[in-house]
Symmetry: C2
Amino acid sequence: MSNTIALYPLSNFTFSTKEAQPEEDPSVSARLQRLQNNYEDFGMRRTVEGILVVHDHGHPHILMLQICKCFLQVVRAGFTPGDYLKPGEDEIEGLKRRLDERLAPPTDSRQFNSSHGVDNEWEIGDCLAQWWRPNFETFMYPFIPAHITKPKECKKLFLVQMPERKVLAVPKNMKLLAIPLFELSTMPHGSYGPQLSAIPHLLSRYNFIYQ
Amino acid sequence: MSNTIALYPLSNFTFSTKEAQPEEDPSVSARLQRLQNNYEDFGMRRTVEGILVVHDHGHPHILMLQICKCFLQVVRAGFTPGDYLKPGEDEIEGLKRRLDERLAPPTDSRQFNSSHGVDNEWEIGDCLAQWWRPNFETFMYPFIPAHITKPKECKKLFLVQMPERKVLAVPKNMKLLAIPLFELSTMPHGSYGPQLSAIPHLLSRYNFIYQ
């Protein structure tokens, strides 16, 4: 029965804004250079992302962050400057910290919320996928390609089980969007890229109960 | 640790042949007509497929059946005439029965094998995916599309954990092929179709140990 998951309606969640947060490196080449520099110091980068699922009128939707009107991403740890997991840091704790940074209300309102019975915790579920970056290049694969003994990055996607109600605060320079699974699955491949397009497949084994 | 799975080398498995088995309906329209007739009698069709994973020199491969040189499929219950799960039949038992029909050696050699310590059992692992057929048409989706209350077929894919050694017997009119994950993942989408192309994603959360 662990494949059965309760989904709550989008309208149960309250969205507010908070201060802007630093964005990703502006250029792909700057990002890859930073990955290479960090690799020399710390070894393989470990990135952790959360898949937040809700429903809207009985259809599953994924909450995704849109940054500077161009990137769409699931909520992640590890891509913005200095923010991937530290060497030895636990991946679940790192993901929770990152989800808090990105989406938790400021501390004072969290105290207000928790005294009013609103859940501030994150419940991290199954690992849904792993993506491997074999070289200091943009390509990633859902396995370690042949002849690669030292991948440069491993990204793990985790299901995040949303509670019945939650208050989320989105940085001013970002937007939180609810994208239907259907759209991720049927739009031409390029629209969302291979990683986001795979999400409907990764979730298909679950039986969702629409509350 | 349930995400860690031992894979054994392709060379550990012994392949023989057995009598030819009936193939699928020759035409797509005949297949869809049969689906419709059965739906009227028994309701939604339940299909079960097994994903058999081995490795070749440290790279995961999927064992797939090629029928009449045109269809490639994972080992399945439910597509050949009269062979989908019966109403009320347990899906795990049904899949085991189907795997036996397709790939187990004839009974006399099975008795010989088991007296020589060769494993005749099938170990069925996690459900990896579900595919839904909304209409009497070829399209299937990894979720139930909007406004569909009565899907016509639900197909479940299960991981089949291959033991260290096993004797498999392949019907004469079919071929068992070992396809590398890499090929499923990187060939143009049309080559293997959306269902087979998704398999590398479905398996990516596992950490394989190559024995």
